[in-house]
């Protein structure tokens, strides 16, 4: 998970930005590799999805705050009963979805529970 870090103000960005919104032209951006561990801010379990995701239902979606600060939206692979606000998660590489009738499969980052993640 590659994002950016502004050396001027210290803020981390995911997804990566080329311009630091805090510092604008005085910002100094560098690439940053996120550990990917974070905390669930809020979540839902989706029972009715768009066509590309229908076969995955029910699946959990969460807003996750990475330990470095930025927030993102991602799926959490675990049973819906085990989802909790405040739970710790770590990244896993999984099939994300299938596009259209021809079924082009694409991969990406999901998250899994990680109660032991520091």
């Amino acid at each position: 998970m590659i994002g950016t870090h502004c050396k001027s103000c210290g803020e981390y960005y995911f997804p990566p930005r080329t311009l630091c919104p805090n510092c604008r032209r005085t910002g100094q951006m560098e690439e940053h590799k996120f550990r990917g561990t974070g905390t669930v801010i809020t979540y839902t379990t989706i029972y009715s999805a768009t066509e590309d995701f229908e076969r995955l239902t029910p699946y959990n979606l969460a807003i996750i705050q990475l330990d470095e600060g930025p927030k993102l939206t991602g799926q959490v692979v675990c049973s819906p009963e085990n989802m909790k606000i405040g739970m710790r998660v770590r990244p896993v590489f999984r099939i994300l979805g299938k596009e259209g009738e021809r079924g082009i499969i694409y991969y990406g980052t999901k998250f899994a529970p990680a109660e032991d993640a520091p």
Partner: protein, 387 residues
């Protein structure tokens, strides 16, 4: 800046209009608004139309020219502009029309909105609507609109103790209001149990927490206030028009349980109108999901943050309460043809302020407000209207 008034309104029946094309809906609403305003085609200076996704829903773009054409105005060659801000497209069309008149650039201007959504499958409709979210960083990972609002709802419940029943009460109230509105998509009353027993869409939101897929169109006619009485015995003043934006993706917001775009648009509108939220008698707010109305009544300043649920439960937002919210039935029961919604909201407030709202009339309504949101809060528009 000149004072601006609404001199005419027109709205189609909302619902699954399988017998009417997008063009038919435009003609129906255009004729109604122009007749209500008592203007002739020759006096119209410009037209703005809100439409979110003609391309996806009916494979038709260039809606500006199409509307002018089918409203019978093509031979007059007036400027006709389509504007888009997802579900706030209608509110944005109203604002653009307001600015055109207020600036002195045009006199008689029509603001319209239209969406024909039921020609495609529900999956295609859901995907077209999802285009209002962040494709790359929300939808790509499986987000849907109900899911985004469900995540807001869950955190609001955790932070403020909002209950599942309170969310349901928004839908119950709006169906109660909607059953008194002849143009509403649904004329059925529902109970809290009906909402709680409806199928889950995105936990904790259920089918009856969600606004439906709807066909419909609406139009209003604007004029400078100084000449409005030439056309209407009951012109309605637009005291304020405000717009604000925020990050496209929900996860980038300062606070997941507040729509800052609503907060800022409301602040600007109340300051323009020199009014406070307590002075609003009737409001049409953006209840695309039940939690949306709870956020709206807090973020507009009607109730303190976190108290929207209890205020709804106590009936303070029903007709006869502190502020009558969504007397049309809202997006939930009146229906949500996305591009038309912001204009329908203005039509409803005009009817209320004229005293023409029939069974759902709010007693002595003098000041009204409309609140229209695009996406999960990337855009918000607030208008304040007065008798």
């Amino acid at each position: 800046m000149r004072a601006v008034s609404i001199i005419g309104v027109g709205c189609t029946r909302f619902g699954e209009r399988w017998d009417s094309s997008l063009r038919d809906l435009v003609v129906e609403t255009g004729i109604a608004a122009i007749e209500d305003a008592g203007v002739t085609g020759e006096t119209i200076d410009a037209l703005y139309v809100g439409n979110m996704s003609g391309g996806r829903f009916v494979e038709q773009e260039h809606i500006g020219a199409l509307i002018a054409d089918y409203a019978g105005l093509s031979s007059l060659h007036i400027p006709s502009t389509r504007v888009e801000a997802a579900c706030a497209s209608g509110g944005l069309a109203l604002r653009e029309a307001f600015l055109a008149v207020a600036s002195g650039y045009a006199d008689i201007v029509i603001a319209a909105g239209v969406e024909k959504m039921t020609d495609v499958s529900s999956g295609v409709a859901a995907d077209a609507l999802a285009a209002a979210a962040d494709r790359e960083w929300e939808c790509f990972f499986g987000a849907t609109f109900p899911a985004l609002y469900a995540m807001i709802a869950r955190l609001h419940m955790r932070k403020y103790g909002t209950t599942r029943e309170q969310l349901a009460q928004v839908a119950v109230k709006n169906h109660h209001h909607g059953h008194m509105n002849p143009i509403a998509q649904y004329h059925t009353e529902i109970s809290v149990e009906d909402v709680m027993n409806s199928p889950l869409v995105a936990d904790p939101l259920r089918v009856l927490d969600c606004s439906p897929i709807t066909d419909g169109a609406a139009a209003v006619v604007l004029a400078p206030s100084e000449i409005a009485s030439r056309y209407s015995d009951t012109p309605i003043r637009i005291l304020a028009s405000a717009q604000a934006s925020d990050s496209l993706a929900l996860h980038d917001r300062r606070d997941i349980t507040t729509l800052d775009s609503t907060v800022h648009a409301a602040k600007r509108a109340f300051s323009q109108a020199r009014l406070t939220p307590e002075e609003i008698d009737v409001a049409e707010v953006h209840d695309c999901f039940t939690i949306g109305e709870i956020l709206a009544i807090e973020d507009l300043g009607f109730f303190p943050k976190g108290e929207g649920g209890i205020a709804t439960e106590e009936g303070r937002t029903s007709i006869g309460g502190d502020v009558a919210v969504n007397t049309s039935g809202g997006l939930k029961a009146c229906g949500h043809p996305v591009g038309a919604t912001g204009i329908k909201q203005a039509c409803e407030i005009v009817l209320q302020l004229r005293g023409e709202a029939g069974k759902r009339q709010v007693d002595e309504a003098e000041i009204g407000l409309t609140h229209n949101v695009g996406g999960s809060g990337g855009t918000a528009l607030v208008h304040i209207l007065s008798r």
